[in-house]
């Protein structure tokens, strides 16, 4: 690592440590934890953009799928709901999938012509009616089971750490479907398709209550085995004693300890993924991808299957985003589909990658920490600025009220400006590609 990069990372570390001294160590650790998760998301996007030049504007969807995995893996199954209609829901889903498979089979087996179109349409319509008949009854039965507390199928009651790779797999599956349709066409189409799928994943998660309780949210997710509960720490005499020896109040010490454990876990994941990404980047496979990115026609002439490589790299990058999504839901301890906003979960990650340095994994990681820090700290700054601007105005004046209310929207403007300025004046980012 060069001196310059070392200084850049040191600067970000100093920002976070400074927060610890000036504000509180809890907020510093919170920024660190979310910074680690953001860095992983940025790494995922960099794998797609930096390695292969694929423009994915659906990061939010893949992150949300990872979050869903946390619920599906770690929550206890709702046995009454399974008894009431769980199997019926599953059967409905299988029938729905079978309809699509049947339609594809008919399409590929029959001779082209008008008859084929009609048969496929009829098969889809019939399959859809059967699917809805089976599925709707099951859903109604499941959602009727104690809707205030459960009303969903629950999960598998496995350790939540398993959900991290599973979240990656879910995201990879969705990415495969999107990539299969939109790759190999003009580059803009992938952007539009990913934008669409992300919105739809969120709509499904908000509306399908049987799956993850929709906007009623799932709260109280398990913690990873190595992270204890604060209250258990406070009740443990040995912990209270060692906290006292540091001169810390046990409540504060327990919250710091829990956040510290998360930070350790996340750091391990980040280091593993970063190592994998670097190894891939320096391998013949990485060189091939860069060759494709820089000149598709030439790479194709050399016998490289461009679309297949793009699909591969798109699936891998989305899987990394899915892992980060599962980690984030684990950290929050709850799944809240209503809080997924494209600005926060897609475009912010893009700003991280561009500012950090697209095509450089360390750059993406640096961008993840730096931009997250700014994202957290800019809002109070914006509010302070507005307070300063409006200080001279009369209290209760309409303009003052409006300006103070609007401070929250400053983030959009700032992010847009940062993106445009970096793209224009420093398109290679803070740590450029070598």
């Amino acid at each position: 690592m060069s001196m310059r990069n070392f200084l850049l990372f040191g600067f970000v570390a100093a920002l976070i440590i400074g927060t610890g001294f000036l504000q509180s160590w809890n907020s510093a650790l919170l920024i660190l934890n979310m910074g680690l998760i953001s860095a992983i998301m940025a790494l995922g996007v960099n794998i797609q953009w930096g390695y292969a030049g694929l423009f994915n504007v659906g990061v939010m969807g893949f992150v949300a799928l990872g979050g869903l995995a946390s619920v599906l893996i770690s929550m206890p199954p709702t046995t009454e709901a399974w008894a009431a209609g769980g199997l019926r829901v599953i059967l409905g889903l299988i029938l729905g999938a079978a309809t699509i498979v049947a339609a594809i089979l008919i399409w590929s087996k029959m001779r082209a012509g008008k008859t084929r179109g009609f048969v496929v349409a009829a098969a889809i319509l019939l399959g859809f009616i059967i699917f809805r008949t089976v599925f709707d009854g099951g859903v109604a039965a499941v959602e009727a089971v104690d809707p205030a507390a459960t009303g969903y199928l629950g999960g598998l009651n496995l350790p939540i750490l398993i959900s991290w790779p599973v979240g990656g797999l879910l995201a990879a599956g969705a990415a495969w479907v999107i990539g299969k349709t939109a790759l190999g066409l003009r580059s803009d189409y992938l952007a539009i398709a990913t934008l669409g799928i992300a919105e739809i994943i969120i709509i499904v998660m908000k509306n399908e209550d049987w799956l993850g309780r929709g906007v009623k949210n799932v709260v109280g997710l398990d913690r990873p085995v190595v992270v204890p509960k604060e209250i258990d720490l406070q009740n443990s005499p040995s912990f209270v004693e060692s906290a006292a020896s540091w001169g810390l109040d046990p409540t504060l010490a327990s919250t710091l300890y829990v956040k510290g454990m998360y930070a350790l876990l996340f750091t391990v994941v980040l280091l593993i993924l970063l190592w994998l990404a670097q190894t891939a980047w320096n391998s013949p496979w990485g060189r091939m991808l860069r060759a494709i990115r820089d000149n598709e026609v030439a790479a194709e002439a050399m016998g490289k299957d461009v679309t297949a490589r793009h699909l591969q790299v798109f699936v891998l990058g989305s899987a990394v985003c899915g892992i980060a999504g599962a980690m984030m839901t684990t950290l929050d301890g709850q799944l809240t589909p209503g809080t997924y906003q494209p600005l926060r979960f897609t475009f912010l990650i893009w700003v991280m990658v561009i500012v950090g340095g697209s095509g450089n994994n360390f750059g993406a990681v640096l961008g993840g920490f730096l931009i997250w820090f700014l994202w957290v700290q800019v809002e109070p700054m914006g509010l302070a600025l507005m307070n300063l601007i409006t200080a001279g105005m009369a209290d209760g004046s309409a303009l003052k009220e409006h300006l103070l209310d609007s401070a929250a929207h400053m983030r959009l403007l700032t992010m847009g400006l940062v993106l445009l300025l970096v793209l224009r004046f420093s398109p290679r980012g803070l740590i450029p590609e070598k």
């Binding site: 030049g53 423009f55 504007v57 859809f128 349709t181 939109a182 066409l185 003009r186 580059s187 803009d188 189409y189 952007a191 539009i192 398709a193 934008l195 669409g196 799928i197 919105e199 739809i200 709509i203 908000k206 509306n207 494209p342 600005l343 475009f347 893009w350 561009i354 409006h402 209310d405 609007s406 929207h409 400053m410 983030r411 959009l412 403007l413 700032t414 992010m415 847009g416 400006l417 993106l419 445009l420 793209l423 224009r424």
Partner: protein
């Protein structure tokens, strides 16, 4: 069985709203398709351009209302529309100078332009929320209905009513006028012809002495007009909320791609196709079916294929099908 009532119910709940929505989407898709044809990138900021233009129209409408100017039975917003278009046009020309021009000169890959348009989208979105706030705004005034359900029932003696809102009528009439003007401009005027030439073959157009900056300037002005009109009509018909306009991006792109990106006629066809698909798939057909089918066949449930929450999914599925089977769109577009 009562076919007449079935047809009226169908017209009231599916055809009229679908037609108005289709006209709004078509105007939006025309803007996207023009930028794509001339500037050669997918403009992600288009939804927010619509919101931005509509915001100007709303502010001016409020100004007019406060000084007592009104358009009688028509919404005041129609009077404010030209001012909104001019302001949006000035803003778009400004963004072109400050932002896009540099990338046009350096001839970057189209995907970089898409990313730049994303940055512009943020700034417009931020400005819109900053100025008018993220909440719902209603600014429709004047007569509410051309014909209300009650009048229709009294007139025809049918059980079902057919209501046509003023905003729906205005939407369709405005759309027809705008589209006619646009096609006249593209096909008959010198500037329009040079725009088409530039879109078909940039090198040949440059060779024959067409000034690219002039073409680009006219494109942005037309896009500003289309976006402001589409946004205002949508806002009058439903309501104005910045986030809804961001979400309109997907059906608008779907319309433009289904019709063939870069093809204005295709954009109009695509807009109506997407709108009618959305409305038919998410409409509960029970009422129509009860009239049209013999009693023994009448459905028990709502006979709704998908809940209205999934209307975005409809445009998405159509988009995917078109990308799979006919990536250049139903009418021949430019891109592969």
């Amino acid at each position: 069985m009562d076919y007449l009532n079935a047809i009226v119910a169908f017209a009231n709940f599916v055809f009229v709203p679908g037609f108005a929505y289709g006209a709004q989407l078509a105007l939006g898709a025309l803007g996207v398709t023009l930028v794509y044809g001339i500037l050669r990138f997918s403009n992600f900021a288009h939804g927010d351009t619509m919101a931005f233009g509509t915001m100007f129209v709303i502010l001016i409408t409020w100004g007019f209302q406060s000084v007592g100017i009104s358009a009688g039975p028509l919404p005041t917003a129609l009077l404010a529309l030209p001012f909104g278009i001019v302001l949006t046009g000035v803003f778009l020309l400004g963004t072109d100078k400050v932002v896009y021009q540099f990338y046009r000169r350096t001839r970057v890959k189209p995907v970089v332009l898409v990313m730049v348009s994303l940055g512009v989208m943020f700034i417009m979105n931020g400005l819109t929320r900053f100025i008018i706030g993220p909440g719902d705004q209603r600014f429709a005034d004047g007569e509410r209905f051309i014909i209300s359900a009650r009048d229709f029932k009294a007139m025809t003696g049918l059980k079902e009513g057919l209501a046509i809102k003023t905003t729906q009528g205005i939407t369709v009439i405005t759309a027809v006028i705008v589209v006619a003007l646009l096609f006249w401009f593209l096909n008959k005027t010198r500037t329009g012809k040079s725009m088409r030439a530039f879109s078909d073959n940039e090198d040949l157009a440059l060779l024959s002495g067409i000034n690219p900056e002039r073409v680009v300037m006219y494109t942005w002005l037309i896009v500003a007009a289309l976006a402001t009109i589409a946004g205002t009509l949508y806002g009058l018909d439903k309501s104005f909320k910045p986030f809804t306009y961001f979400q309109l991006l997907l059906p608008i792109f779907a319309s433009a791609i289904v019709g063939g990106l870069g093809n204005p006629l295709g954009a109009i066809a695509g807009g109506f196709l997407i709108a009618f698909s959305e409305v038919t798939v998410t409409y509960a057909w029970k009422k129509v079916a009860n009239y049209a089918l013999p009693e023994s066949l009448a459905p028990d449930g709502l006979a709704q294929l998908m809940s209205t929450d999934y209307k975005l999914a409809v445009s998405f599925v159509i988009l995917i099908i078109v990308l799979l089977f006919k990536p250049t769109g139903l009418f021949k577009g430019q891109s592969v």
